[in-house]
C-alpha cells in the first residue's frame, strides 16, 4: 500500500496495543519525528508502562507536538489513539497549526496483537485490554474523516503493513524551488487593456494568434498574479484567457482572490448574490463558449491559496499571509489568503474593518498582496499591498522581485465606483508613511531579554539579558528620540602595551598589530580629546520628516555615545545643526552624495563641555589636593633630610609634585569655558551614511578628504582632522608616523588613532580592529592617575589585557554598521533600534574603562 502524506502533517497512528505501531513508525519515519506515549510515560515516571502516569505523559506528548508543529515539522503520534477522546485534541492541534491531520490505522487481528504482547516481558496484561481496544478501534474507523482527518489509511493484515511505503508530498503552495525573478501584479479586475500595457512595460511581448494570446516574458522572468482577476472591469474573459494561458505555459503563477472564488461558485451553479461586480463577470462570460466557462471553472478550482517562493523569502497571497500560516494548508489559511482578517466591526461605509496583520508582522519572508485598494503601495514590516485600485480609476501596479521596484500604469477610466473613496484626493497625502506611523512607538519585546542579532559584517551577536536591562534604563531615561538614533559608536581599543621605558603606549605596537593582521596601509588620524558625538543633519525639516519621520520640525540631532542629546538648549542645538547643514551645503555634498541627509561621526570639543561634573568632582579636586598636600610633605621631609632614609623620599616627593603639576596641565588643555557656539569645535572623522549608502565601502582617505571640504566651509566651528597615511611595509614611512605621534603628544595632544586604510578590513581571523588608539604620555595621566609614570606604578600598569576590549570593539563596530545598513535599506525602525540598543547594552559589559 502506498501512503501519500503532505510533507507537513500530523500523522496519528491508530491501533491497539501490540499491533506494531512503533515498529511501523521506526521503519518509515525519523526517530525524532515520532513521539510515542510509552516514551513520554517513561519520561515522567521512569516506567513506560505505568498507566497512572498516562495523563502527565500525554501533556508532555502534546507539548512536544506543539513545539514541532509550530516549527513546521512533520510529527507522528505513536499511541493507541483508539478512542475518539484521544484523537480529538490531536485534530485540534493540527488545526491550530494549520497542518493536515492524517490517520494511519493498523487494524490487525486481535489475536495477533495479543500474542505479540504476550511475548513482551513488560506488557503482561490480560487479553481484555487488547479486546477493548480493538472494539473501540472498529467503532472508530468509519468516523475518522468526520472527526477531521483529511487522509485515512487503513491496513488490515501484517502483509499489508509490511508492504506499505510512504511518500511525502510537497504542499501545493511550496514553490521554494522557484527563485524568480518575478513580476508580481496587483488586482486586475478585468482591466485588460491596462494589464496588456503593464505587461508591455515590464518587457513581456504579447502575440495574438488564432489560438489566443501568447505571452513571451523577458529573459527568465515570470509573472505572479495576486488574484481578483475578475468582476467589475470591462474585459474579464480577455484577462482570464491571458492569465490562464500564461499559467498553463508556465510563464505565470496565480493565487485566487475572493472575487475569483465567488465567480467560480456562481459558475458551478451555486446560489450566489450578484453583488460587488459579479454581475459583470457573469454577463461577460455568458457571451463566451461553454467550453470556456468549463475551462475557467477548472482553472479557478485548481488555484492554490498562496505561494511560498524563493527558498521561503517571498510569499504571495491575495489578502496577505501571517507568518505562522505561510506554507501551511488549512481552511483557515485559505480564508486568510482570500479575505484577510477582520476585527468584527464595520466602518462608516458598512464595510468590515480589517485587522492590520501587517503591522504586527515580524516574519522574514516578504509578503506581497492586494485585496484592499490603496492610493500608493507602501512597505510595512516587509509586506506590501500592490492593489492600487485600477478598476476604480487608480492604477495597475506590479512589483519587480527581487529588485523591489514598483511599475504601474494608470487606469484608462474609472470602471467602477468604489463605495469607500480610496483615493483620498481631497485630503493632502499623509505626512508619514505607514511604516513611520507604525514605528512611532516601539515594542518592548523587541528589545528586552536575551537577543541574538544577525549582522552582515561579523556574525550573530548575543546581547545578554542583564546588559539589555541596563540599556533599557539608559535608553528610556536619557536617550533622544529613537527615530534619530540610527547609530551608536563603538568603543575603541588601545594599541598593545609598549615595551619602551616610561611609556604605556607607542605607535610601534599599533603598526605591528595591523601588519600582523595583513593590513599594509594605515591611516593615522589626530585624536581629539573632547566627547564623542554623532551628528545627523538633514537638508531641511521636510527631509527630516520623510526620511526620519520627525514631525517636530527639527533638522537633525547631535547626540553622545549613549544616545543622549548633547545640547540641553533646543535653540543652541538648532543653531549648531544649522551651521553644520550650511557647511555640508557649501561643500556641495548634498549633490555629490545625492542625499538629503547625512550622518557624521565626530568629536565635540572641549571635553569640559560635557564632562563638567567629572572635572568638578573628580579631576580638579584630585589635582587641587595633590598640589596642596605635596608641597607640605616636601617641606616636612626636607627639614628632616639629614636622615639618609628620608633624603631618598624627598626626591621621590619632588617627582610626585612635578607629576601633579603635569597632570593639572594635562586636563586643563582640554578645558575651556563655553558660553556660546563660538566656543565649540566639532571634528568630524567619518561620514557614516547618507541616502542609500553606508560609507563603510569607502576608504578613510575619502572620508578625511570629503570631510575636509565640509570643514573648510565653516572653519570657526568645524575642525579638519590632520591625518597621515603610512605604508607599514616601508620602515621610513613607519618612522614618519612615529615622529608625527611624538610631535602631536609633545605638544600635549591626546595622541592618534590608527585605522586600516579600508573602513572594514579583514584580518587573519575575521575582522581586524577598525581602529586602535595610541595615547600620549601626558594625556594618560588623566586616565591612569597623576603618578602613573613613576617607575613602580608603570611597571604594574603595563600588565593589562586587551582581549575583552578588542572583542567588544569588534562587536560594537559590527552592530553600529548593521544599524546603519538597516536604516539605509529602509527597514522598520525596530530593526535599526535593535542594533543601537545592542551597542548600548554591550557597553554595560564590564571592561576596564581605562582601556
Amino acid at each position: 500500500m502506498n501512503i501519500t502524506i503532505p510533507e507537513l502533517s500530523l500523522v496519528v497512528l491508530v491501533g491497539p496495543s501490540g499491533c506494531g505501531k512503533s515498529s511501523f513508525a521506526r521503519e518509515h519515519f525519523k526517530p525524532t519525528e515520532v513521539i510515542s506515549s510509552d516514551f513520554c510515560r517513561g519520561l515522567v515516571s521512569d516506567n513506560e508502562n505505568d498507566q497512572t502516569a498516562t495523563s502527565d505523559a500525554f501533556d508532555v506528548l502534546h507539548y512536544i507536538a506543539r513545539k514541532r508543529l509550530a516549527a513546521g515539522r512533520l510529527t507522528v503520534v505513536d499511541a493507541t489513539n483508539v478512542q475518539v477522546e484521544a484523537r480529538k485534541p490531536l485534530v485540534a492541534l493540527a488545526r491550530e497549526f494549520h497542518v493536515l491531520p492524517v490517520a494511519i490505522v493498523l487494524n490487525l487481528p486481535e489475536k495477533l496483537c495479543h500474542e505479540r504482547n504476550q511475548n513482551r516481558q513488560d506488557r503482561q496484561f490480560g487479553p481484555h485490554v487488547v479486546r477493548n481496544q480493538s472494539q473501540q478501534l472498529r467503532r472508530s474507523i468509519r468516523g475518522l474523516e468526520r472527526e477531521g482527518f483529511r487522509h485515512v489509511f487503513t491496513m488490515s493484515s501484517p502483509e499489508e503493513v509490511a508492504g506499505a511505503s510512504i511518500t511525502r508530498q510537497s504542499l501545493w503552495n511550496n514553490l521554494k524551488e522557484q527563485h524568480g525573478p518575478f513580476d508580481i501584479i496587483g488586482d486586475v479586475h478585468g482591466c485588460g487593456e491596462e494589464l496588456n500595457a503593464l505587461l508591455g512595460q515590464l518587457g513581456y511581448r504579447i502575440e495574438t494568434g488564432l489560438a489566443g494570446p501568447k505571452v513571451i516574458p523577458p529573459d527568465g522572468r515570470r509573472a505572479v498574479f495576486v488574484g481578483d482577476l475578475v468582476d467589475r472591469g470591462p474585459k474579464i474573459p480577455e484577462v482570464l484567457r491571458l492569465v490562464m494561458k500564461m499559467v498553463e505555459e508556465g510563464t505565470a503563477f496565480c493565487v485566487p482572490g475572493n472575487h475569483d472564488m465567488k465567480l467560480m461558485r456562481k459558475l458551478k451553479g451555486r446560489d450566489v448574490q450578484l453583488t460587488h461586480g459579479l454581475a459583470d463577470s457573469v454577463e461577460q462570460i455568458e457571451r463566451e463558449t461553454p467550453e470556456f466557462t468549463q475551462a475557467v471553472i477548472k482553472f479557478l478550482d485548481d488555484l492554490v491559496s498562496h505561494y511560498v517562493f524563493d527558498g521561503g523569502k517571498l510569499v504571495v497571497a491575495h489578502a496577505g499571509m501571517k507568518e505562522e500560516m505561510q506554507g501551511r494548508g488549512s481552511g483557515k489559511v485559505r480564508d486568510f489568503a482570500l479575505y484577510g482578517e477582520t476585527t468584527g466591526e464595520t466602518d462608516e461605509y458598512g464595510l468590515p474593518v480589517r485587522y492590520n496583520w501587517a503591522a504586527e508582522y515580524r516574519g522574514k519572508a516578504m509578503v506581497v498582496y492586494g485585496h484592499t485598494p490603496v492610493a500608493e503601495p507602501e512597505w510595512l514590516n516587509r509586506t506590501i499591498n500592490i492593489d492600487t485600485g485600477c478598476v476604480f480609476g487608480g492604477k495597475l501596479t506590479a512589483l519587480r522581485y527581487p529588485e523591489k521596484e514598483l511599475v504601474s500604469v494608470p487606469a484608462l477610466q474609472t470602471y467602477y465606483k468604489s463605495v469607500k473613496p480610496f483615493l483620498a484626493e481631497e485630503e493632502s497625502a499623509p505626512a508619514l508613511t505607514a511604516q513611520q506611523q507604525l514605528d512611532d512607538l516601539l515594542n518592548i519585546e523587541d528589545v528586552i531579554g536575551k537577543r541574538i542579532i544577525q549582522t552582515r559584517l561579523h556574525r550573530s551577536i548575543t546581547i545578554r539579558e542583564e546588559n539589555a536591562t541596563t540599556a533599557l534604563e539608559v535608553m528610556s531615561r536619557w536617550a533622544s528620540n529613537p527615530k534619530w538614533l540610527i547609530y551608536l559608536p563603538p568603543t575603541m581599543s588601545p594599541c598593545g602595551t609598549s615595551k619602551r621605558d616610561g611609556l604605556l603606549e607607542h605607535p610601534e605596537e599599533a603598526f605591528a598589530y595591523f601588519l600582523h593582521e595583513g593590513v599594509h596601509k594605515v591611516v593615522c588620524e589626530q585624536k581629539h580629546m573632547g566627547s564623542r558625538a554623532v551628528v545627523v543633519v538633514c537638508r531641511n525639516a521636510d527631509a527630516a520628516r520623510t526620511r526620519f519621520g520627525i514631525m517636530e520640525g527639527e533638522i537633525g540631532v547631535c547626540y553622545t555615545r549613549t544616545g543622549r542629546r548633547f545640547f540641553n538648549e533646543a535653540r543652541l542645538e538648532s543653531e549648531f545643526l544649522d551651521r553644520v547643514r550650511k557647511a555640508v551645503e557649501v561643500a556641495g555634498v548634498w549633490e555629490s552624495l545625492n542625499t538629503d541627509w547625512i550622518c557624521l561621526d565626530c568629536e565635540l570639543m572641549p571635553w569640559s563641555a560635557k564632562a563638567q561634573e567629572l572635572l568638578r568632582l573628580q579631576y580638579a579636586p584630585t589635582g587641587a589636593a595633590a598640589r596642596a598636600a605635596l608641597p607640605a610633605a616636601i617641606t616636612a621631609l626636607a627639614a628632616a633630610a639629614g636622615n639618609p632614609e628620608i633624603a631618598s623620599l624627598v626626591d621621590q616627593y619632588h617627582q610626585r609634585k612635578e607629576a601633579a603639576d603635569l597632570y593639572v596641565e594635562s586636563y586643563r588643555r582640554y578645558c575651556w569655558t563655553v558660553e556660546s557656539l563660538a566656543d565649540l569645535k566639532l571634528a568630524p572623522f567619518h561620514i557614516l551614511a547618507s541616502e542609500g549608502i553606508v560609507h563603510s565601502v569607502k576608504d578613510h582617505v575619502w572620508h578625511m578628504e570629503t570631510l575636509a571640504e565640509i570643514c573648510k566651509a565653516d572653519p570657526d566651528l568645524l575642525f579638519t582632522t590632520p591625518f597621515l597615511t603610512v605604508d607599514l611595509t616601508d620602515p621610513s614611512d613607519k618612522e614618519k608616523g612615529i615622529q608625527w605621534w611624538e610631535q602631536l603628544t609633545a605638544s600635549g595632544g591626546e595622541g592618534m588613532v590608527v585605522k586600516p586604510l579600508d573602513f572594514v578590513a579583514k584580518g587573519r581571523t575575521g575582522l581586524a580592529q577598525p581602529a586602535v588608539k595610541v595615547r600620549g604620555r601626558e594625556y594618560l595621566r588623566i586616565i591612569y592617575g597623576l603618578e602613573y609614570t613613576m617607575p613602580n606604578n608603570l611597571e604594574r600598569l603595563k600588565s593589562r589585557g586587551l582581549g575583552a576590549k578588542r572583542s567588544l570593539a569588534l562587536r560594537e563596530f559590527a552592530l553600529g554598521l548593521e544599524s546603519l545598513e538597516r536604516f539605509v535599506h529602509k527597514e522598520p525602525l525596530r530593526r535599526v533600534h535593535e542594533c543601537v540598543f545592542g551597542v548600548l547594552a554591550l557597553e554595560s559589559e564590564p571592561v576596564d574603562p581605562r582601556l
Partner: protein, 526 residues
C-alpha cells in the same frame, strides 16, 4: 517549561499570564554589569565609580604634623613611643605610613605622620574580586588627602600613644601641654564653619587655609580642601583621639565597610569628650554614614554615658524632624489621595507605573479590594530595593500572588500592561524628557489603556513656598520639567480629547490660595 518558572533566569514571558507568579528578581546585577550611571559616563570618556560622585569626598590629610613647645620638646618622642632620631615606616593595606621628625630641639619638636598611599595598588588590589577589570579610578584624591585612612595609620603608628600610656613620661602624658596639629590636607564639605564647629568646642584655636579647586576655572566652584592648623593646650592622647574620630567625620565617606564594631570603636575613641560635644549627633551620623540604625544605637549609648539636658535634646531633635517631616507628610498625603481615588474607581487590578522603591505598592497591598497589583519601573535596582523593602521573599504566598514587579519602560509599547482597571503614575512624568512624552502618552493611554489613570506631578507654582529651593530650580535634580497648574491641565485636556478619557483634577497637600497645592493630580477615566 520556561526556565523562569524555576526562578533562576529572568524571562519576560512569565509575566504574560494574568495569574503569573510574583516576580522573584533573579538577576544579580552587581559586578557583572555596569549600572546605567556608569554607562552614561562613557559619554565623558572616563568613567569613575559613581559612589564618589554622589557622596562627600573622603577627607583626610596626606600629612599630619604634631608640634609641641613644651620644654624639653623632644619628650614628644616618649609620648609617641617613637625615637626622634629615626624614621619609622609602617606597611598598611593601602600603602605605607612614615613617621619622622622634621624638627627635634628642646624648644620645639615636630613629629610628622606621612601617608604614602599607593594609588595603583588601591585599584589593582581588588583584581581578584572583579574578574576582568575593576571600575575604581586611578585618578583619585585619596593619596593626597587625609581621610579615614589617617585613622587607620594612626591606629598602627600611634596606637599606644592614643591610649595615653607612656614609658618613662607617664606624668607628661597625663598633662595638658601646648600642642599644634597641622593637617595637609583635609577635604571638608561643610567648609570652615564645620571645622570650627567640630574643633572649637574641644578647646582648639582653628586656622584653615583654603585651596582653590582650579584657579584657572573659578566657575567650577570652590574646592573642599583645606590645610588646617589646630592649636591648643591638651593632653596628646586627647588630640590624637579627636583627630581619629573627627577627621573621618569631616567627610562622611569611609573607605571600609562599617559594621557593629565601628560603633564600639567610636565610643572608645570618643570616651570622655564626645558625649559632651554640642554636635555629637552630627558627628555620630557622619562617622557612621547611611547606617541610621547604628547611629541610633551609638547615640543611645552616648546618652546613657552623659545623661544630657533633655530639653536641649528635644530641641535638636524637633529641628531635624521639621526638615524630615514636611516631605514625608506630602508623600503620605499623595498616597492617601491615590488610594482614595482608586477606591472610588472600584478598580481591582492595578498598575503602579514607575513604582520606584515600592512606597505606593506598600499602601496598595493594604487594600483588600485589589486582587492584582503590578509595580513596574525602568530601574532594575529600584525594583531590587522594592523587593527587599516589601520583603517579597518572605511574603505569604496569598499576598505574594497579588503582587508582581516587572522591569519595563514607559517609552515602549508593552503588552504586559494591557487590560488593567487602573494605573497610577505618581511623580513620574516630570522625569521624562519633554520631547519623549509623546511616546509615553501613547504607551499609557492608547496601548495599555487602563480604565482609570491617576497622574500626579509637582505644581511648579508652589515652588516659591520652599525656602530652600532657589527660584527657577526644580525640586529634584532629575526633573526634566515642572508644570504649573495651567500647563498640567492643558496637557491633560489634550490627552483626554485625543484618547477619549474624561479628566478631573485634585490638589494634594495644603492648598495655597495663590499658588495652589504642592502636588497636582489628574484622574483620567474611560
Amino acid at each position: 517549561m520556561c526556565p523562569a518558572q524555576t526562578g533562576h533566569i529572568y524571562c519576560p514571558k512569565i509575566f504574560e499570564g494574568r495569574s503569573g507568579r510574583a516576580l522573584v528578581l533573579p538577576l544579580a546585577l552587581n559586578d557583572q554589569v555596569r549600572t546605567p550611571a556608569q554607562l552614561l559616563e562613557a559619554e565623558s570618556k572616563q568613567r569613575l565609580q559613581l559612589r564618589f560622585l554622589h557622596c562627600p569626598r573622603i577627607i583626610s590629610t596626606m600629612l599630619l604634623t604634631i608640634t609641641t613647645t613644651h620644654n624639653p620638646a623632644t619628650d614628644l618622642g616618649y609620648l609617641l613611643h617613637k625615637n626622634p632620631e629615626r624614621m619609622h615606616s609602617f606597611e598598611l593595606s593601602f600603602g605605607k605610613a612614615h613617621l619622622f621628625y622634621p624638627e627635634a630641639t628642646p624648644e620645639c619638636c615636630t613629629a610628622a605622620l606621612l601617608l604614602d598611599v599607593d594609588p595603583v595598588g588601591l585599584v589593582r588590589g581588588k583584581r581578584g574580586r572583579h574578574e576582568g577589570g575593576t571600575l575604581d579610578q586611578y585618578v583619585n584624591d585619596r593619596p593626597y588627602v587625609l581621610s579615614s585612612l589617617l585613622s587607620v595609620a594612626m591606629g598602627r603608628a600611634l596606637g599606644t600613644a592614643m591610649t595615653g600610656r607612656s614609658k618613662g613620661r607617664q606624668e607628661l602624658a597625663d598633662r595638658k601641654i601646648p600642642l599644634t596639629a597641622t593637617l595637609a590636607v583635609v577635604a571638608c564639605r561643610g567648609g570652615e564653619p564645620l571645622l570650627r564647629e567640630l574643633f572649637e568646642p574641644l578647646g582648639y584655636e582653628v586656622n584653615a587655609a583654603h585651596h582653590p579647586l582650579d584657579e584657572k576655572f573659578p566657575e567650577w566652584g570652590e574646592g573642599p580642601y583645606y590645610t588646617v592648623t589646630l592649636k591648643g593646650i591638651v593632653r596628646l592622647q586627647d588630640l590624637l583621639n579627636h583627630l581619629y574620630v573627627l577627621v573621618p567625620v569631616l567627610d562622611a565617606e569611609k573607605h571600609y565597610w562599617i559594621g557593629q564594631d565601628e560603633v564600639e570603636k567610636l565610643l572608645r575613641k570618643g570616651e570622655g569628650w564626645l558625649a559632651a560635644h554640642p554636635h555629637k549627633e552630627a558627628i555620630v551620623k557622619r562617622y557612621l554614614p547611611r547606617q541610621t540604625q547604628l547611629a541610633r544605637e551609638a547615640l543611645a549609648q552616648l546618652a546613657e554615658e552623659d545623661n544630657p539636658d533633655p530639653d536641649a535634646k528635644e530641641e535638636a531633635h524637633s529641628e531635624e524632624e521639621m526638615k524630615m517631616e514636611e516631605p514625608i507628610r506630602l508623600w503620605q498625603q499623595r498616597m492617601g489621595a491615590v488610594v482614595a481615588v482608586l477606591r472610588s474607581s472600584g478598580a481591582k487590578r492595578v498598575l503602579d507605573l514607575g513604582c520606584g522603591e515600592g512606597k505606593l505598592l506598600r499602601s496598595l497591598l493594604q487594600e483588600k479590594a485589589l486582587t492584582e497589583i503590578v509595580g513596574m519601573d525602568v530601574s532594575y535596582r529600584s525594583l531590587e530595593i522594592a523587593s527587599r523593602n516589601l520583603h517579597l521573599d518572605r511574603m505569604p504566598s496569598k499576598q505574594k500572588e497579588r503582587l508582581k514587579l516587572i522591569h519595563g519602560s514607559l517609552m515602549y509599547r508593552d503588552k504586559r500592561l494591557a487590560g488593567y482597571d487602573a494605573a497610577t503614575v505618581v511623580e513620574v512624568i516630570e522625569h521624562l524628557d519633554a520631547p519623549r512624552l509623546a511616546a509615553f502618552e501613547r504607551v499609557l493611554f492608547e496601548a495599555a489603556r487602563p480604565k482609570t489613570v491617576i497622574v500626579t506631578t509637582p505644581n511648579a507654582e508652589y515652588n516659591v513656598k520652599f525656602d530652600t529651593l532657589p527660584a527657577g530650580q526644580f525640586r529634584h535634580k532629575d526633573h526634566r520639567f515642572e508644570w504649573t497648574r495651567k500647563q498640567f491641565q492643558q496637557w491633560s485636556g489634550r490627552m483626554s480629547e485625543r484618547f477619549g478619557y474624561g479628566v478631573r483634577f485634585l490638589p494634594i497637600g495644603e492648598e495655597d490660595s495663590q499658588v495652589g497645592a504642592p502636588t497636582q493630580m489628574g484622574v483620567f477615566s474611560l
